[in-house]
């Protein structure tokens, strides 16, 4: 047998027809499953939307299709519930919370990633442990503390803890900071910058995608948060954020399912819109959490 020269083009054999057909069928089956799953995933959104457009009686029957389309439901929702007030409360929580979170988590993550000090690894382990314990573990004494400070009934008990760093964000940012080559930091240090300046000028600029992802996650988390706001503002409707208001929606003037579904859609919408606008940051952030190490 003559030796095949290394530089000769590799000849791709055509696979036998049976193998090709089997692979084609497998691909079709795969795609069909995916399509079926996709339909199942979209169906709830469609059902919710259709119900949101029904009249009250139709929502109470087993109909699929609204007839007529009650577009005014979306207006009625605003008349029934103080959605504006709720949105303001949610934004207050999200904006103040996220800002504070970023300002406090970035330095901590940086210290854990780059600065050398004794007990660094122990500290990181503690951060991880703090991440894993349920909030219910600390909730009773904290409630007592906030009650003594007369802050129960406001959103401050949920906002303020964010100003002291958040374990998840610290973890994420640390992972990213670890990937910054030491040379950049050394170059800045050689230029005479103190650690704080190194952090605020060099590191932050390099870590913009990670920071954006953290901010996005924090915003999403505060937008969806329910347990702690329920605890602290549950009895004070004036300070209800959107999620609490939505959960209590049906008890307002004994509202029915159609308006409830309309309100549900309205509450879901901002997050989905933000997703489409900031897709890249989302996906990056999610994969960051899966980064090994």
């Amino acid at each position: 047998m003559s030796a095949v020269p290394v530089t000769a083009p590799i000849v791709r054999r055509r696979l036998p027809a049976s193998v090709r057909r089997k692979r084609f069928l497998l691909a079709v089956a795969n795609h069909s499953f995916l399509i079926a799953a996709a339909i199942a995933f979209i169906a709830p959104f469609i059902f919710i939307t259709l119900t949101a457009l029904m009249t009250n009686e139709q929502a109470l029957s087993a109909r699929f299709w609204p007839h007529p389309f009650a577009w005014h439901n979306f207006v009625d929702v605003f008349r029934t519930a103080p959605l504006g007030r709720w949105t303001f409360n949610t934004l207050e929580y999200s904006v103040l919370g996220t800002l504070g979170l970023l300002l406090s988590s970035i330095p901590v993550a940086y210290a854990l990633a780059r600065l050398r000090f004794r007990g660094r690894n122990v500290m990181f382990m503690i951060v991880l442990v703090a991440l894993m314990l349920p909030p219910q573990v600390s909730v009773v004494p904290l409630y007592v503390m906030w009650a003594k400070l007369h802050l129960v009934g406001t959103l401050w008990p949920v906002i303020i803890p964010n100003w002291f760093g958040d374990a998840f964000s610290i973890f994420l940012l640390r992972q990213f900071f670890l990937t910054i080559p030491e040379e950049y930091l050394d170059a800045a240090r050689v230029d005479g910058l103190g650690e704080l300046r190194v952090l605020s000028t060099v590191v932050v600029r390099l870590a913009k995608p990670a920071i954006a992802a953290v901010a996005l996650f924090s915003f999403l988390y505060t937008f969806n948060d329910f347990f702690l706001p329920l605890l602290y503002t549950g009895e004070n409707p004036h300070h209800w954020p959107l999620q609490i208001g939505l959960s209590q929606f049906r008890s307002l003037h004994q509202v029915q399912w159609n308006l409830t579904m309309a309100a549900t859609l309205l509450v879901m919408a901002p997050v989905i819109v933000i997703f489409f606008l900031a897709q890249k940051a989302f996906v990056e952030g999610v994969t960051l959490t899966g980064v090994k190490g």
Partner: protein, 302 residues
């Protein structure tokens, strides 16, 4: 440098260290936030372990979540990720569709599902009716209430699925090629190449799932409230809606909330939280210690 760590150090002591110490103290007292704490020794724990009629159910329900919801979510997310990895066209569209429900706020998603699964007026049972199947009572049936929550949970696996997809796509091609040369079929490739390579990510998803199962509250609270019809409770007398129906959705965090913030027995709720702390700590310890055994180190194949 201490300055850098200071926010977190302060936060940790105030919002984490202090509460845990205080919780142990409060658990040995009777405290209703109106009069000073009254020392009762181990009475709260005695009630917890022997007399509270709901604790056993709450523990069983939470363990059910760990045993059923977590594997279901992981397997489902993995399955979809594997299918997506194989797909040639439309991956972006599919990925978006599968990810979107994970973005829905839990309250909104639960409200939607309680309506969709309404046994009398919901579209799911209407559809099943057209197919000749008499649909179950979903959130109104204690046997089906937790599975309904699982279905809700499966709807939201987008996050996990995206992570799995990235990990599956990251598996080095040469591993597959050498396996193909060895004559491996798709199942063998899956078992001996794919799964070991992504095992750290699977472990991560399982750990996250278990942590969430131990704190599961929002969906259970909202579903029980709405399904029991007590949502219009302004004029309603009975508030026995948590855990509806028949305590089947009464999970440990929900019970804790009920005792601490509905009955205002903060001493007893502290006892419940101390037990939860111990259990969570043990569970995470077990997982972390054993992670080396379960996770396949990158680089070593087979």
């Amino acid at each position: 440098m201490l300055l850098f760590l200071s926010p977190w150090l302060v936060g940790f002591s105030v919002f984490f260290g202090y509460p845990i110490v205080m919780a142990v103290y409060l658990s040995l007292n009777h405290y209703d936030l109106l009069s000073p704490p009254r020392w009762v020794g181990l009475a709260n724990y005695r009630y917890l372990f022997t007399l509270d009629p709901q604790v056993g159910t709450a523990v069983k329900n939470t363990l059910w979540l760990v045993a059923v919801l977590v594997p279901a979510q992981v397997l489902f997310a993995l399955g979809i990720a594997l299918m997506l990895a194989r797909a040639r066209s439309g991956v972006g569209v599919f990925r978006t569709i599968f990810y979107l429900p994970a973005l829905a706020p839990p309250v909104a998603a639960t409200l939607g599902f309680v309506y969709i699964l309404n046994p009398a007026t919901g579209p799911v049972n209407a559809l099943l009716g057209h197919l000749g199947i008499s649909g179950p009572l979903w959130f109104q049936d204690p046997v089906w209430a937790k599975p309904s929550l699982v279905i809700l949970g499966l709807w939201g696996v987008g996050n996990t699925m995206v992570i799995f997809l990235a990990a599956v796509l990251d598996v080095p091609r040469h591993l597959y090629e050498s396996a193909a040369i060895d004559g491996a079929n798709w199942w063998q490739r899956l078992r001996w190449v794919t799964l070991p390579s992504i095992s750290p990510v699977i472990l991560f998803a399982v750990v996250l799932g278990v942590i969430q199962a131990l704190q599961y509250f929002t969906q259970a609270y909202v579903a029980a409230n709405i399904a029991s019809g007590q949502a219009s409770q302004a004029a309603d007398v009975t508030a026995a809606s948590l855990g509806y129906p028949q305590d089947s959705t009464l999970f440990y965090p929900v019970l804790l909330y009920q005792h601490g913030f509905s009955d205002y027995q903060m001493g007893y709720a502290s006892a419940l939280s101390v037990v939860l702390l111990v259990v969570s700590f043990v569970v995470t310890l077990v997982i972390v210690v054993n992670s080396r055994r379960w996770v396949h180190q990158a680089g070593a194949v087979r």
